[in-house]
């Protein structure tokens, strides 16, 4: 019996999703090496080890078992987000992590996944998805952690929660009319956000991005320019690994975390960087493929949430590096240096694979009947 299940497990294992994620991590390893140091890259390897441990550990459980615990997880992480505001360590004036020795534990990296699970649990028991109240309660699920993350203050990570909400509610079949109703609500809350939650430097960044001539945040403008120069000097073929002038002269801000994509673009050039983007695309489309195939609506919902999370994160990060979005401090999943973000990405990957595997089991079970 065990062997049989294992065979099924392997059979449902989505190698495209898994392989592209591994490829991205490998690329991340080498460019962290180039941008920061060998030691940094090997530390990332340790994070990968921890992440893979959790990856396989989580695979043993049925994802439904995890979804059932979603509310508890949600409460735990909301408490962690509150606690980090008071007890967390400080990086450049923001409080967003706990020091756990090996890893800096950053609750905001994990709340994204927890939100996906909690929304899935909330939406799975609803028989009528078209009610406006369901939309509003789902929104509340997203707004609460978002506000807490804004207070750290971390604008970017907080905003990633919105696409997750939109995508999941959208796929369950909420009325478009109701979505349109959210727009005026957004206009009402936007000034509140602007005046109460954003710090001066964040306002300066947004203004600086929208109206560059008005900006006082010269640092951000300079970083944007240096990033553009790095990408531009990559040209078609790149300057070679560890050969990028911009990277090696440290003209890039956060070259091994938020701006690692600029390093790749400079040292690898357009052709290979295009390949990296294709890997990301393969990962996302593979996940969407599982979502399309699976017969379990809950599993599909989870996958759509994760697709929204990854896509928006990839898009916002690359758009920032490419100078078409403000500098918000979002890193590139699987590639950027960082324990919390890598481990949370691997946990998300575990869930994706999990849905794929269990779906096969459901299918075979039905086949026996």
């Amino acid at each position: 019996m065990m062997i049989k299940v294992n065979k099924h497990l392997v059979g449902g294992f989505d190698w495209m999703v898994f392989g592209s994620a591994c490829g991205l991590m490998a690329i991340g390893f080498f460019f962290i090496w180039s941008a920061a140091s060998q030691a940094c890259a090997f530390r990332q390897l340790v994070f990968m080890g921890i992440g893979f441990g959790l990856f396989f550990g989580l695979l043993v459980l049925d994802y439904m078992q995890i979804v059932r615990q979603a509310y508890i997880l949600y409460i735990v992480f909301i408490v962690a987000l509150i606690a980090v505001l008071f007890l967390g360590g400080t990086i450049r004036g923001t409080r967003r992590w706990f020091d756990l020795g090996v890893v800096n534990f950053q609750p905001s990296e994990f709340i994204k996944i927890v939100l996906v699970l909690a929304l899935a649990k909330y939406l799975m028991y609803k028989d009528n998805y078209k009610r406006f109240s369901i939309l509003m309660i789902s929104l509340a699920f997203a707004i609460l952690p978002m506000a807490l993350i804004f207070m750290q203050p971390d604008l970017g990570t907080g905003l990633i929660l919105l696409p997750i909400f939109f995508a999941m509610v959208f796929v369950t079949g909420a009325r478009i009319k109701h979505f349109l109703l959210l727009i005026p609500m957004g206009f009402v809350t936007l000034p509140l956000l602007w005046f109460f939650l954003l710090r001066d430097y964040q306002r300066a960044r947004v203004i600086g991005f929208l109206w560059p001539s008005e900006t006082q945040d010269w640092g951000a403008a300079y970083h944007r320019l240096q990033s553009l120069i790095a990408i531009g000097s990559g040209c078609v073929l790149g300057q070679g690994w560890k050969q990028g002038v911009q990277t090696q002269l440290n003209r890039l801000p956060e070259p091994h975390t938020d701006f690692v994509f600029a390093v790749i673009a400079e040292e690898w050039g357009f052709l290979r960087t295009f390949g990296v983007i294709l890997l990301f695309l393969a990962f996302i489309l593979g996940t969407l493929g599982i979502a399309y195939r699976t017969r379990d609506p809950v599993g599909r919902l989870v996958l759509i949430g994760l697709v929204a999370m990854f896509t928006s994160q990839i898009f916002v990060n690359m758009a920032m590096v490419l100078g078409v979005a403000p500098i918000t401090g979002i890193n590139l999943p699987f590639v950027s240096y960082g324990g919390s973000s890598l481990i949370s990405s691997l946990l998300a990957l575990s869930l994706i694979i999990n849905v794929g595997i269990r779906d096969k089991i459901i299918l075979t079970r039905r086949g026996f009947r």
């Binding site: 796929v171 320019l225 002038v245 295009f274 983007i277 695309l281 697709v307």
Partner: protein
């Protein structure tokens, strides 16, 4: 329903990835050449725009340190290279090197004939040997070619670097007249131009030189700190060291850093933040095509000092050419009006004088008021008296009999004369040692040390100058040591500023002020006040009733005591003389520490002449008289002026 909405999600994913790829392709394929630095048409130049250093003013706004233009003669790199090659009479090491330069200037072949001639012409103009200019040229060529070589090694192909398009200084600090002559005849020097560069100038030369300090060249670490106006971590710094030759080295060639005095202490306020500019240069015309980043510099702030230039010059004049210090300080505020030290240096010629100055045995670079450590002599009896009063070991009626000396154990300690029966007031007035010896016997060593420290001795006063000395308060264990300390001898050493602080504490009946030099920091551009220094007070826990007796005694000192007949009585002075032994039998430090006016003190002061043959009152007394009458004259003139001004202004 699901599959339809899934398709929309799929569409959104494809759309966002398409946007990213298009943007990436645009940057790397279409705009790539512009940014890559190896383009054949355009080149990026990234450099910092220096911020103007703030001025230093006295309390009435008279400039004590200002930025003045200095003139450098700069020559285009191309011409430097030709001059250098012509002089060597050799072909360049690599043919491609010359070819690259020739290609570059194909547009102006006509002027190439005499590109190397600037050397002789400039040498004539500047009355200097052509060899000297050529030496500078060689240095420049070596530097630039080395950078170029490294860049080419990295790119594995021939490139042009920004240094090749810049002009480099060949003669620095050209006198104004020469600069003017050059300016008029500039057309006959192709490729040569005049560049102005800010230079620090101290209009009053050696006046207040120790307070103002001077500027110096930064160390590599400081240089890096200045370069990274946009923050970088230490780890990143170490890494960038491997590539440092790549960054434009001329960028911060004129960067200076405050090394001493106010220039050093308030360096970050005075320096401001450099701006940054990134320009696209067209290689065809060698002109700036477009500025793509232009962050203006934040100019340095002006620093207003509490120093009154009039009082400062008066104090320096009073000191004359004797080694010593004078400090004048507001008793209530701690504002230092004057702080004179002799010998001094001239910060305008410091570069040339430096080697001589550091070898001078009289240490002219030492700011004596805050850095000289001297035994205070009898002036310290003020502290001994207040300590004994506070500890309750003596009162105003306590009398001791002075027979001219006292024997403790096998040592005999002498007094200045036989004073007979003396109480505290008479003891201070006539500086009777025996009285304080007897007092010291009653005190224990720990109490002496503790109270001495409460008056600010043994620690820095916190004055806003770098490298202040803290002095030393020993713990007197044996009776002999206690006796020595009670009259300011032995291992106890203090700075003149600490003694001034003591004088103000007595004048204020126990309230200590922190001496300071800063009045306010004001933006030089728009006069926005950034910081105003407020007085910092600290009360010593001695009952107030102990002070009047000491204050009266200090007044008696100038009427009938050790400083009588020096003209100090008429000027309203109260104070204490001191003659501190120095080790060599015929040399003393002559002190006078006090405040004016005795009944409503405004200024505390300290006069000390080091290594003199005379006694405290004899040497420091006349200096004090000149100083105090000068201060009162300045005050009077001031009042007259303000009275006139208020009368002149209509109501």
């Amino acid at each position: 329903m699901y599959s339809n909405r899934l398709k929309i999600i799929f569409g959104l994913v494809i759309a966002s990835f398409t946007v990213l790829v298009v943007r990436l392709g645009y940057l790397q394929i279409f705009e790539g050449a512009k940014y890559s630095g190896i383009s054949q048409k355009r080149l990026l130049r990234d450099y910092s725009v220096p911020a103007r250093r703030g001025n230093i003013y006295d309390c009435r706004g008279r400039p004590l340190a200002v930025e003045e233009p200095a003139f450098d003669i700069v020559v285009d790199y191309k011409n430097i290279l030709y001059g250098y090659l012509r002089d060597k009479g050799e072909m360049p090491q690599s043919l491609s090197q010359l070819k690259a330069h020739r290609d570059l200037s194909a547009g102006c072949d006509s002027c190439h004939v005499d590109t190397g001639l600037w050397v002789t012409k400039l040498a004539n103009l500047l009355d200097s040997a052509p060899r000297q200019l050529l030496g500078q040229a060689e240095e420049t060529v070596n530097r630039v070619e080395k950078i170029k070589e490294q860049v080419q090694l990295r790119h594995k192909k021939t490139v042009r670097i920004q240094e090749e398009f810049a002009s480099h200084a060949i003669a620095k600090d050209v006198p104004l007249q020469k600069a003017a002559v050059f300016e008029m005849d500039q057309d006959s020097y192709p490729g040569v131009s005049l560049r102005t560069r800010p230079k620090r100038y101290y209009p009053y030369n050696d006046t207040a030189s120790h307070i103002l300090g001077y500027l110096g060249r930064p160390t590599p670490e400081e240089m890096h700190k200045a370069k990274s106006a946009i923050q970088r971590s230490d780890e990143e710094y170490k890494k960038s060291q491997n590539y440092k030759d790549l960054s434009p080295s001329s960028e911060l060639a004129d960067y200076r850093i405050g090394r001493a005095g106010v220039e050093g202490y308030y360096d970050s306020d005075l320096t401001g933040d450099p701006g940054r500019r990134v320009e696209v240069i067209s290689l065809q015309t060698l002109k700036v095509d477009k500025t793509i980043f232009d962050m203006p510099p934040r100019h340095g702030d002006g620093v207003f000092l509490t120093i009154d230039l009039d009082v400062q010059r008066l104090a320096e004049e009073c000191l004359g050419e004797t080694k010593g210090s004078i400090v004048v300080m507001g008793t209530h505020t701690g504002e230092i009006l004057a702080m004179a030290s002799y010998p001094r240096f001239n910060p305008n010629t410091l570069g040339a004088d430096y080697n001589k100055l550091i070898k001078d045995p009289d240490t002219p670079l030492l700011n004596r008021p805050t850095q000289a450590l001297l035994p205070p002599g009898s002036t310290f009896k003020i502290v001994t008296a207040l300590t004994a009063l506070a500890e309750g070991k003596i009162d105003l009626n306590t009398h001791f009999y002075c027979s001219g000396s006292i024997t403790v154990g096998e040592f005999k300690f002498r007094c200045t004369s036989a004073h007979g029966p003396v109480d505290l007031k008479r003891a201070i007035e006539h500086s009777c040692n025996v009285y304080f010896f007897e007092t010291a016997k009653r005190l224990d060593g720990r109490a002496i040390k503790e109270w001495t420290e409460k008056f600010g001795f043994g620690s820095e006063t916190g004055v806003d100058l770098p490298y202040e000395a803290s002095g030393d308060v020993p713990l007197p264990r044996y009776p002999g040591e206690r006796i020595n300390v009670s009259i300011g001898q032995g291992a106890l050493v203090v700075t003149p500023l600490q003694m001034t602080q003591l004088a103000s504490a007595v004048a204020n009946s126990g309230i200590m002020v922190r001496p300071h030099l800063l009045k306010k920091i004001v933006a030089d551009d728009d006069a926005t006040v950034r910081k105003v220094e407020a007085p910092e007070l600290r009360e010593i826990d001695i009952p107030k009733e102990h002070f009047p007796a000491v204050q009266e005694a200090l007044r008696q000192v100038v009427i009938s005591g050790t400083a009588r007949g020096k003209g100090l009585e008429e000027l309203g002075v109260a104070g204490k003389t001191g003659t501190a032994q120095t080790g060599s039998s015929d040399k003393n430090h002559a002190w006078f520490v006090g405040y004016i006016p005795f009944d409503a003190p405004r200024y505390a002061f300290c006069v000390v002449v080091e290594h003199t043959t005379g006694h405290g009152g004899e040497v420091a007394g006349p200096i004090t008289r000149k100083l105090v009458s000068g201060i009162l004259d300045i005050e009077k003139a001031d009042k007259l002026l303000t009275a006139k001004r208020t009368a002149g202004t209509p109501k």
